[in-house]
């Protein structure tokens, strides 16, 4: 499905990195919920003006919502998009789905995992538990069923899914693309092995020895390009560096809920700018305080 990427130095800029994402591509976004989302890359993608994406993955939030709001997404195939009980439904995603401008082919975590595993294992399909009796298959003409050749049991079956590009964010990585992640890895490992192109941003580019000492989670040979982007997951968390920015996320949700000019103003202020400007505006540095004490950590969530 995918060959390895053997260049020794894969460092590049955000702009060049997201040039791997063509209009209409199937795009996997790393991280999960409001943790370790590849937000600097997502913002660069919005600046690039990409359209027609099919985004695939498990449970996501501002990454997908921002891309939908910016008009980059044609089809959404995640298992969840939202801000949990904290900030509620995903405004742009919801508006797109309800207006019909966004096609939502909702998936489920195990089903997405199984499709990626099929690509990773080099088989055209895999059987998967569940799904039968639910309405999810009505959104997926490409799914089917298979009869177990041994037990005769009918099971759901799904085709292999190899994303064109995966965007991942890691706390540290080296020039060759070796990445260290902290758990949970969510689907990042599977995206890395199943996707044709893997573009990674890292909070800090470090020596190979430093990544090796921390433990290589995603090996260089599956990574196509790597970009240093400090606070590159902000406003989502990327521990051990920084926590979730509840204030900024609330500001985003408010703008996205209002839509129109308010959303454009958000884009102008935070997305259509240099990342350095974004970091300064959001005061992302303050989120490193989580590690000082449990009290300071809790304060970030109040």
């Amino acid at each position: 499905m995918t060959g390895f990427h053997l260049a020794a130095d894969k460092r590049t800029t955000l702009e060049e990195a997201v040039a791997h994402v063509r209009d209409g591509a199937t795009l996997a976004l790393g991280g999960g919920l409001a943790a370790r989302l590849p937000m600097a890359l997502v913002r660069a993608l919005v600046r690039q003006g990409t359209t027609g994406l099919r985004v695939v993955g498990s449970a996501h939030s501002i990454d997908v919502d921002l891309l939908v709001g910016a008009g980059a997404v044609a089809v959404c195939e995640e298992s969840y998009v939202g801000f949990e009980q904290d900030l509620g439904l995903a405004p742009a995603f919801r508006r797109g789905a309800e207006s019909g401008s966004l096609v939502v082919r909702e998936s489920s975590c195990v089903t997405m995992l199984t499709q990626l595993r099929a690509a990773e294992m080099g088989v055209p399909f895999l059987p998967v538990r569940g799904l039968l009796g639910t309405d999810l298959p009505t959104l997926h003409p490409e799914w089917g069923t298979v009869t177990c050749p041994f037990t005769g049991q009918l099971l759901a079956a799904v085709p292999a899914l190899a994303p064109d590009v995966a965007l991942l964010h890691a706390p540290i990585g080296d020039a060759a693309g070796n990445l260290h992640l902290d758990q949970p890895y969510v689907l990042d490992e599977r995206f890395a092995h199943a996707s044709r192109v893997v573009v990674a941003s890292v909070d800090r580019l470090v020596s190979t020895a430093e990544v090796a000492a921390a433990g290589v989670t995603v090996p260089a040979h599956v990574v196509t390009a790597v970009v240093e982007a400090p606070f590159g997951a902000h406003p989502t968390s990327c521990y051990p560096g920084y926590a979730y920015d509840r204030t900024h996320l609330a500001e985003y949700v408010k703008a996205a809920s209002a839509g129109g000019d308010a959303f454009e103003a958000y884009l102008d202020r935070y997305v259509r700018v240099e990342e350095q400007t974004y970091r300064d505006l959001t005061g992302a540095e303050r989120l490193t305080a989580w590690s000082a004490s449990d009290e300071q950590w809790q304060e970030l969530f109040r």
Binding site: G32, L33, A34, A35, S58, A59, E78, S79, Y80, V81, G82, E84, Q85, D86, L89, A90, F93, R94, A97, E98, G100, V103, V104, E106, S108, C109, V110, T111, L113, R117, V128, R129, G130, L131, L132, G133, T134, D135, L136, L139, Q153, L154, L155, Q183, P184, Y185, V186, L187, R190, S237, Y239, P240, A243, Y244, R246, D294, W297, Q298, F301, R302
Partner: protein, 285 residues
């Protein structure tokens, strides 16, 4: 309500009162049996807190998989309002990989999952995808996570909602069937080849229900400020009612202390509307 403490953080005297959100979490916690392997999904603060309460009270031998981090038996100092946060890993010796948890759930090694939904029918089928159905939703909900797979295979499900009283949650037919109850339009679990036991408990802000042999929700107990008639009125399907409907057993001081200790930020309260947050019980009420 401001919880009086006896000097130790989170501990309460038995003469204190308690709120509905606390009692609700305790009722959810009691659905966990000791020795079970239990899991909640994301966007589930009440279930999240309840699992820790169970482990700290009557179910110390349960194995808790912290949803969205897949950390095993962590001891968080607080529950943050987002489910994939390092705060939830605290002191966990092991964190499952994503696929490791879901494989275990698919093969039947997980005993219980907590599931909620924007709509829930009599059989415990839930809709977390879209009010008004797809592809033309009236309200697009967040989505079901892994429920469409593992609701089929996990040993037993505790279903919950904090919006029973709205009259729009317990419905005759879900607009979209995301997670599997006992009987779907396509057949029963057995007919569909699903290995899990399906919904065992339904806990709502009005009361506690179980499921009859034919897989339909049955009212067992109400909170003391709720009548059976109110529950029936709020329910969109013909509700089975146990012969001896009682009151939900009161929380013990240890249970209340556990709720308050696990959840100092009160994330459980995010699931309730203002009128339910105002419900107060007990001696100090």
């Amino acid at each position: 309500m401001s919880a009086q403490t006896d000097g130790r953080a989170g501990a309460v005297r038995s003469t204190d009162g308690w709120t509905l959100d606390e009692w609700f979490v305790v009722a959810l916690a009691r659905t966990v049996a000791d020795g079970e392997v239990v899991f909640h999904g994301f966007a589930s603060p009440c279930a999240q807190v309840a699992m820790h309460v169970a482990r700290r009270t009557h179910a110390p031998g349960s194995l808790l998989v912290e949803g969205a981090t897949y950390a095993v038996n962590p001891e968080p100092a607080f529950v943050p309002p987002t489910s994939n946060d390092l705060a939830l890993h605290r002191d966990a010796v092991y964190r499952m990989r994503f696929e490791e948890f879901f494989d275990a759930a698919c093969r039947g090694a997980v005993d219980r999952m907590f599931l909620s939904g924007g709509q829930i029918d009599a059989y415990g089928n839930t809709n977390v995808t879209a009010i008004g159905g797809m592809p033309h939703p009236k309200i697009k909900l967040g989505g079901g996570g892994g429920g469409a797979n593992i609701s089929a295979t996990i040993g037993a499900l505790t279903v919950w909602t904090t919006r029973h009283g709205s009259g729009r949650t317990l419905v005759e037919t879900v607009d979209f069937l995301t997670d599997l109850g006992h009987v779907t339009p396509a057949g029963t679990r057995a007919e569909l080849g699903h290995t899990g036991g399906g919904p065992q408990w339904l806990v709502t802000e009005l009361g506690v229900l179980d499921y009859t042999a034919d897989g339909r929700a049955r009212l067992l107990a109400t909170f003391p400020d709720v009548t059976v008639a109110q529950v029936e009125k709020a329910t969109g399907f013909a509700l089975a009612v146990a012969d001896d409907v009682g009151t939900v057993p009161e929380p013990t001081p240890a249970e209340l202390a556990a709720v308050r200790d696990v959840d100092p930020l009160g994330v459980r309260r995010l699931e309730f509307g203002p009128s339910d947050l105002a419900r107060h019980f007990g001696p100090a009420a």
